[in-house]
């Protein structure tokens, strides 16, 4: 399995109050698959994804990504892991405001060993003609495209998307999802995506339903539908 999480636990302690956010999570995702995590707010989705992405740590349990035991890495090794293997897409895009579109993508290509051609990636997300604009001169959907381009330019093995369509309208959301699906197909990138929106799970290979830090449901889609077909 490409992602193999077993018995992952995480507790936040603030003062006297203990908040068990992840209560022994076990999940698996195959290489080249799209996985979707569903669940109500506060159920621990982001926490789980951050641990898989190497920006946070669990208290116990195992996290293996493409044979790397992420849960055993020290801080420097985690940095290298993120640098090499993981691409991030955020709900609020997180572009660097004083860099142009192209330069925002360079932020990542600059540190990766064998980045894809930036213009090709921009063409892929249909933003080539706006590459000299600054983020504040783009719409939300356009910004999210740039953010996806930035995530995939280093050709990561794993693409993590935390509610990538959370701030977008229906039409724009669908085009972003389509783009993600296209990336998954063209580059064989494994994608793990968080969403509130159950409809989106139709395009996933595997779906994990989280509630209060536990996976309460989990299923496999034998035939994921193309993003164009999603309705809500």
């Amino acid at each position: 399995m490409f992602i193999d999480v077993s018995d992952l636990r995480k507790t936040y302690t603030s003062g006297m109050i203990k908040n068990e956010v992840l209560k022994g999570i076990a999940m698996k995702l195959g290489k080249g698959e799209i996985g979707v995590i569903l669940g109500p707010s506060g159920s621990g989705k982001s926490t789980l994804m951050n641990i898989i992405g190497g920006v946070d740590r669990g208290d116990s349990g195992k996290v293996i990504v493409d044979g790397i035991e992420v849960s055993k890495l020290n801080d420097d090794q985690l940095t290298e892991y993120r640098r090499e293997a993981v691409g991030f897409v955020f709900q609020f895009y997180n572009l660097v405001p004083n860099l142009t579109v192209r330069e925002n993508i360079e932020v990542v290509s600059n540190i990766s060993k064998s980045p894809l051609n930036i213009d090709e990636v921009l063409a892929e997300v249909q933003m080539l003609d706006k590459k000299h604009r600054f983020p504040r001169e783009l719409s939300g959907g356009e910004q999210q495209r740039v953010s996806i381009a930035r995530a995939i330019v280093k050709n990561p093995k794993l693409l993590l998307c935390d509610e990538p369509t959370g701030a977008l309208d229906f039409q724009t959301s669908r085009s972003i999802l389509k783009l993600l699906q296209q990336v998954n197909r063209n580059f064989g990138t494994t994608i793990l995506m968080i969403t509130h929106n159950t409809a989106i799970s139709a395009m996933a290979n595997r779906v994990f339903k989280l509630r209060s830090g536990e996976i309460v449901d989990e299923w496999v889609n034998q035939a994921p539908i193309p993003a164009e077909g999603i309705e809500w």
Binding site: D56, R83, F90, Q91, N94, N98, E103, V107, F134
Partner: protein, 749 residues
């Protein structure tokens, strides 16, 4: 509610302690320099003016070939006070000379600053610096010219405020020279004492220069041969002190102004940020019925309190340091100090100016935000700042990513860029200024390669014939330009094949002495260049003479025109083979009574060492101050940049940037601005140097070359870069503490 708001102020202050401390230090430095420099110059000016007026400083002095029999008649005729006094240089040792002066009653009246006046024979009043340097106290005995004197007091003399041995010297050392006042009667058995007339005109409304010219003409008509005529304006003993006063006065404005300007800029930037960050809160408070005035008062409190505190602390430090500083200056100049005035007005200026500066800048920034409607404000920072012209103007595609990032970082905030540039430039100017003064002085006093003789003898009367072995003859006359009698200088006839006066051009090539050469300092002062033909008036006979200048020599200490002695004699209609003085490599055995002056070149170094020692400590102080200023500025800018970039830094961490890579991107983004600021500092330092020197040149007949030597540029650059590194180290921790969750949670709050 107001109480609650005020609590917030404390929190704002606490959050960025170091930053506000930095601003505070800038304000303190500004107020301190202002109050000290202004206090120093004002006090000195008052002391000197009071002294010279109360003790009747001469307007001019001169000697004559025979005594003037009816001084009273002359006084009446010219409505002046005229008093004759005696002067004799007693050699106390090989290196120590005490100039004995007779006590005067009308002009240049001695001021007793300690002890009592002369009452009995065998008593002497001493110049205090001389007394201290050579271990004479009141009551001790001093032997001079085979007489023993008892020191009964210390004295200041209006015409020896800066006790130079020769009027054309620049430096003196109390270990080598001093003056003492004795009773006139003591001179009865001293041979060869010079008799000098001092003149003070009563009519201060008419041009003193005109009155002097008339007096001189009259004396000539009466058949007197006048020598050693020196107007007070050309008398360094009286004028050099004004150079210090003016220097202090000039310092008292630009340095504090730069500090206040920098603090107001940075406070403006910081408040703009705070207020934008809080625009939602402001909007909400507005909506709840707060008045603009109340909010304004709330935000203005910090800059005003900061400026007030800085001004107060600066004044508190400055006031007690004025007196010791005046005393330190006075140890250099001999002026009585009846008391030091501490100016209340200066303190007010020192406190109010920073309040006005900071108040104004933050008022403008805050107002621009508070003008908006509550609804607009409550929308918050979402209407993001526009891309500024600078960011858009630059096409950066061909650069490396790291270069692009750093450039963008700088262009992003023009006010921050201006602040950084201005700050680094002023710190560099301050630093270079110090080093350049040091360098100029050093250069000026390195005359050993121009004058290869050890002794200079000047005779009372013209001499004829050949010079003794190891010596060369010279002849000299005082001249002034046709239209400007204020500028006086010597034209000296020297032997055309002289090996004792070696003039060099600016490339270091030797200039032949068989032509007419002018020293650079004089050329600058007169505005003359090689190839010019100029006419000067001989001060002795008032006749014009024309000279064709062949070359300009790189010599700064002396203001001379050199011509071959034969040509000089012919022009002045003096006998062939005549001369007035000798340059000699060794001491010559010439009877004292034949000489009007002897100058030993080896006297210079000790005075110079002392002077340079003081200079070096001053320059060191300036370097430290400018480094502190640079450090504060760089720290402020860097920490602001980090704060503005928190999200970006966090994002970079998420993307897998290594710690060193992030530090390098963020911290090194100012490097090119720092370097540029420094480079701008060089011409600015030279230019301000040039104007200050030009001013000093007119004031005290001293022209200094504003030379910025590469070594000092490198040292200053190293100092600036070192502070830059230090500021980066101070900020590196702030970068490391930015957590990744900031990017992960961005937009959710």
């Amino acid at each position: 509610m107001v109480m609650v708001l005020n609590k917030r102020l404390m929190r704002i202050l606490k959050e960025n302690k170091l930053r506000y401390l930095g601003i505070l230090v800038l304000i303190i430095l500004g107020s301190y320099t202002f109050i000290v420099a202004a206090g120093l110059s004002q006090n000195l000016a008052v002391l000197v003016t009071t002294f010279t007026e109360d003790h009747v400083q001469e307007d001019l002095s001169f000697s004559t070939d025979r005594p003037i029999s009816d001084v009273a008649e002359l006084e009446n005729k010219f409505d002046a006070l005229i008093e004759e006094y005696m002067s004799f240089d007693a050699k106390l040792s090989d290196t120590l000379t005490l100039r004995l002066l007779s006590e005067t009653k009308k002009v240049n009246i001695p001021a007793i600053i300690e002890g009592r006046t002369l009452s009995r024979p065998g008593e002497i009043l001493l110049d205090p610096a001389f007394a201290e340097a050579n271990g004479y106290s009141i009551g001790s005995q001093i032997k001079a010219q085979d007489k023993t004197f008892t020191v009964v007091g210390f004295v200041s003399l209006p015409h020896y405020i800066y006790p130079l041995k020769n009027v054309n010297d620049i430096l003196y050392s109390p270990k080598e020279f001093g003056v003492g006042v004795i009773n006139r009667e003591e001179f009865s058995d001293i041979d060869n004492a010079a008799s000098i007339y001092s003149v003070k005109f009563n009519d201060r409304t008419r041009s003193l220069n005109m009155q002097a010219v008339e007096l001189r003409k009259y004396l000539q008509v009466k058949g007197f041969t006048v020598s050693n005529w020196i107007d007070i304006m050309n008398n360094k003993r009286a004028r050099i002190v004004w150079a210090s006063i003016t220097g202090m006065k000039t310092m008292s404005v630009p340095v504090p102004a730069a500090m206040f300007l920098l603090s107001s800029l940075i406070i403006g930037i910081m408040f703009w940020r705070i207020i934008r960050r809080e625009s939602v809160i402001i909007g909400t408070l507005y909506a709840q019925g707060y008045r603009r005035r109340e909010l304004m008062r709330h935000y203005m409190a910090i800059p005003l309190v900061l400026a007030f505190a800085g001004g107060m602390i600066g004044s508190l430090f400055a006031l007690p340091s004025i007196e010791p500083m005046v005393m330190a200056m006075i140890s250099y100049y001999n002026v009585p100090v009846p008391g030091i005035e501490l100016s209340f007005l200066n303190v007010m200026i020192g406190i109010l100016t920073p309040m006005i500066f900071l108040g104004l800048s933050s008022y403008m920034v805050i107002r621009s935000e508070l003008k908006k409607s509550p609804a607009e404000l409550m929308k918050g920072d979402k209407q993001k700042a526009k891309v500024n012209a600078l960011e858009r103007a630059f096409k950066l595609e061909r650069f490396k990513f790291s270069t692009k990032f750093r450039l963008r970082e700088q262009f992003r905030s023009i006010s921050r860029l201006v602040f950084l540039l201005l700050g680094v430039t002023s710190a560099s100017v301050l630093m270079l200024f110090g080093f350049t003064v040091l360098n100029s002085m050093n250069h000026v006093f390195k005359t050993s390669d121009v004058y290869l003789f050890e002794y200079e003898y000047t005779f009372r009367d013209l001499q004829y014939g050949e010079a003794p072995d190891g010596a060369e003859t010279f002849n000299a006359g005082k001249f002034y330009p046709e239209n400007n009698e204020e500028i006086e200088f010597y034209i000296t006839g020297i032997e055309p094949d002289s090996t004792l006066v070696i003039l060099k051009d600016n490339k270091g090539n030797v200039i032949p002495n068989n032509q007419t050469n002018i020293t650079k300092s004089l050329a600058n002062r007169l505005g003359i260049k090689a190839g010019d033909t100029v006419t000067f008036i001989n001060k002795e006979d008032g006749k014009p003479h024309t000279f064709h200048i062949d070359a300009v020599a790189e010599s700064y200490i002396e203001q001379f025109i050199y011509v071959p002695i034969d040509e000089f004699n012919k022009k002045m209609e003096l006998p062939e083979d005549s001369y007035i003085g000798l340059f000699s490599t060794k001491e010559l055995d010439i009877p004292d009574e034949k000489l009007s002056g002897t100058k030993s070149m080896s006297q210079l170094p000790e005075a110079m060492d002392e002077f340079m020692g003081q200079m070096i400590s001053m320059v060191a102080l300036m370097t430290i101050v400018s480094s502190v200023v640079a450090l504060i500025i760089l720290y402020l800018v860097t920490s602001l940049a980090i704060e503005e970039n928190r999200n970006t830094i966090s994002l970079f961490k998420v993307f897998g940037y290594r710690r060193g890579e992030i530090r390098s991107l963020i911290l090194n983004s100012s490097t090119f601005v720092v370097v540029t600021g420094f480079l701008i500092g060089i011409p600015v330092a030279v230019a301000s140097m040039g104007s200050l020197y030009g001013y000093l040149g007119n004031l005290i007949n001293l022209v200094l070359p504003p030379i910025v030597s590469p070594i000092y540029v490198i040292i200053s650059f190293a100092a600036i870069m070192l502070t830059y590194q230090l500021s980066k180290c101070m900020c590196a921790k702030n970068i490391d503490t930015v957590s990744m969750s900031e990017a992960l949670k961005a937009g959710t709050e």
